[in-house]
Symmetry: C2
Subunit: 488 residues, 2 copies
């Protein structure tokens, strides 16, 4: 029996261990010596860079500009928005000293600060302070800024990408003249995230609105894309918040309106984080490792030269010529390292490279290529000209297969026939999990029965059936559908 | 006399005030409510983004890959490299708590950490820890990583861009099998910075080596590009360090060598920060505001529609058609905001847009363009076809003029005839300042006479005259030339 070079644990054996194994197998990241903080290794970071490029381009097309705001925020600034601080107080890293000194051979903090500084858990207040300086008149509106940066939220139980104390993200912050404009911006960015998650990342995603008790701390409304992972759990993939005038009042974002009155701006904020890489992993990977949609894949094709002796130079030159003949939009890497080619092949399978090519004497003689399709592990030989003619179509098929496979798996796990808490409890006691679509009265506040099941209301989806029914929690009459699920 | 819309202070009146005025006038940045931390505003950040794109492309062409490492570093990790910690202990921001709570209506730090965490002042140790895990054999070398991130170094006296508590930078870190390879990498990156500063930014720059007492804390050798500002002071523009095996020994970066022995790697690190934007400002700006080299300018051309009534729509369409007819590599912005066009014009002059175009009825009728050349404030009318044919040449001339003007000004302020401390004291008592090239025995350690003058040894330039002479400090015989200057 041939040796399998796949992961040493499968999804069905242990989903959580498998998730770790995919990350290690694809060399995406590693834990650091710093509690709760990960190292994003070059291959993992290349995925984040691809995501940044695509989103940044889209944000700019929509009129946003990038800027950079201080990471250290005086903690008394948080006193200005009570709901906001209540949401973040428990997870703020605080800088209290600005020097270290040696004492008995150990370094200890020295020179205490007068006002302790929080490391930003999010930047509504500090960016709001700038906006308050920038905005004088309705003519200065809208302000549409974004920053790519790191944030820190202290986490007790961490998991690579999904939940780390420090993570990377983008945070968009906008200020508008009217509620309508701020709401339009919020839903526009909600749509951008839906497009990114479903059309670019080929992930499953249900766009909707968070219930009151799951909103961002300080927001009027929070919109989310809830994405189902292969184990049936939900991942909150990206959120967009209409903040009303809450933050404008807290930090004084005021402007002279068209009629001369002094008005508070309406603001929005929206963000997506490196946790989406965790979502991407749990959406598409299989028991052989990672799979990547073509827009995100650092390489579409990796060429492994199979060198056995006398014609090594010719084979290398042939590999170079294959790379050169592919157009620029196809990202190609030739692995010239002096390690066994069979190991290399399985490294790139685990890394989710769509086409892993092995080029040796036969291919050189035939002017052909031999490659493995990552998704199906199907092996193919064809002439170089056929490969050049079909690579675009093969990438398209690759992407369509990823999307279809992911959505079909997810749709099987959506249950919309549950009408009682008893049925829901039974559904979620099944280790398969999934999404339950059930009636939910949005005025409900007591979710204790869900807490017992470790289930949450993920969102009120934008798509509503409009049918009559009873809230599964309160029994109240309601037409509203909500998604219930366990989550990451 | 026409109203001048230039800055309210000139270089000759007060260089330091003028520097602030350029930043405010070009809307590059502002001070924040956070001590020592600045906000990089959208136009300033667009300049940093252009710099990032150019450098990132070059780094990748040279085989480097990006990654991301934790910002929070346990302070005991710094105990491993004594020289390193001695260099940074006085400026480290320390996180000691991971929660805040309300006490008598005030937020205070809560939940102390067992091991305090420093915010990275630089990442040799934390990246070294990862390298120690990654590198097992000589086959794993070289490792060539880079990260774009924020760092914090506590500063008592801060100035926008030049010296801020938090700043942005890139830090490259590499590990090699041999000293020769690590030294080659260090000088390669030193050359890349020289190219970036002189060829891309069109700034003055003298590449050289730092004397022992000015080296990076923990380095064997530090290379620098010292750039002269318009006031004759030096700015350390970018540094590259050969670290020997110092950090490899501190964190255990070991590998099995070709002969089977366990060896320590040789490492390098190199970085450039947002302070280079301060250097760019002080190199090229004039009494009307900023000037930018074309590679860095967010816009090459800004079009201001001059709208006076009936033909407004036609003028707007004509502006759009001018933009569309320019090829993609020319960055064009049409300012359609409803504010007075004369104010707009001077806004863009202060922002250093190379060509500020005003398009009204005359231009519409003549199929022409009217524009002001930023560098000379010369006004020009020409047909649209002539503009399209000459824009590339005009940008080239713009860049050449910037470079020539900058270098000519700097060369006037380089003095190589000083042979005694008395002469040097006289030179630096002159408020014009400048660079002094004088003999320097690299074994000299007593620099107290320089300290009194607030002068430092900037570098031993790569270009040496090789003439005999006496060290200006010790009187010892030496052939070595060094640059002495006041600095930022």
């Amino acid at each position: 029996m041939p040796i399998r070079h796949c992961l040493n644990v499968t999804r069905s054996e242990d989903f959580s261990e498998w998730y770790q194994a995919v990350i290690v197998g694809a060399d995406l990241a590693e834990n650091s010596s710093v509690r709760g903080c990960m190292v994003i290794k070059p291959y993992g970071f290349a995925i984040w860079e691809r995501m940044q490029q695509i989103l940044d381009k889209k944000f700019k097309e929509l009129g946003h500009v990038n800027a950079y705001f201080p990471m250290l925020i005086p903690i008394d600034l948080f006193e200005k928005e009570a709901e906001h601080v209540a949401g973040f107080a428990k997870e703020m890293a605080v800088v209290t000293h600005h020097r270290v000194e040696l004492k008995d051979g150990k370094l200890v903090p020295a020179s205490p600060l007068e006002t302790p500084l929080a490391i930003r858990p999010t930047s509504e207040l500090i960016i709001g302070e700038s906006m308050a300086r920038w905005i004088k008149s309705y003519r200065d509106l809208p302000v549409l800024v974004n920053q790519w940066c790191n944030v820190v939220r202290w986490e007790m139980r961490t998991r690579m990408f999904l939940r780390t104390t420090e993570f990377l993200w983008q945070e968009g912050h906008t200020a508008h003249e009217t509620e309508e404009e701020a709401r339009t911006e919020t839903t526009l960015m909600h749509d951008v995230y839906k497009w990114f998650i479903c059309d670019i990342l080929k992930m499953h995603g249900i766009p909707g609105k968070k219930p009151e008790f799951e909103k961002f701390a300080g927001a009027v409304d929070t919109y989310t894309v809830e994405s189902m992972m292969q184990d049936g759990k939900a991942l909150q993939a990206a959120t967009s918040h209409y903040l009303g005038q809450n933050f404008a009042r807290a930090v004084g974002i005021q402007f002279q309106g068209r009629n001369g009155d002094l008005c508070y701006a309406h603001t929005s904020s929206w963000g997506i984080t490196t946790r989406i890489i965790g979502g991407l992993i749990m959406s598409h990977s299989d028991d052989d490792g990672l799979n990547l949609p073509s827009e995100i894949a650092p390489y579409h094709v990796v060429i492994i030269p199979i060198l056995k002796g006398e014609n090594n130079d010719e084979i290398m030159r042939y590999c170079d010529s294959i790379k050169e003949s592919l157009k620029e939009s196809i990202r190609v890497f030739i692995d010239k390292k002096d390690t066994p080619p069979q190991n290399k092949k399985w490294d790139y399978i685990r890394k989710g490279v769509p086409f892993v090519m092995e080029i040796g004497t036969n291919e050189l003689i035939d002017k052909g290529v031999f490659f493995t399709k990552r998704l199906t592990l199907e092996k193919k030989s064809m002439s170089i000209s056929e490969f050049l003619n079909t690579i675009d179509d093969m990438l398209l098929t690759h992407d369509e297969t990823l999307l279809t496979r992911c959505n079909e798996n997810c749709e099987k796990k959506i249950c919309n026939t549950i009408e009682s808490i008893g049925e829901m409890r039974e559904f979620f006691s099944n280790r398969e999990n999934g999404f339950v679509v059930a009636k939910f009265d949005t005025n409900t506040t007591d979710t204790s029965v869900l807490d017992e099941m470790a289930v949450t209301v993920r969102c009120v989806p934008n798509h509503q059936t409009g049918t009559d029914g009873q809230c599964i929690l309160s029994g109240n009459e309601t037409k509203t559908d909500a998604i219930f699920a366990k989550s990451y």
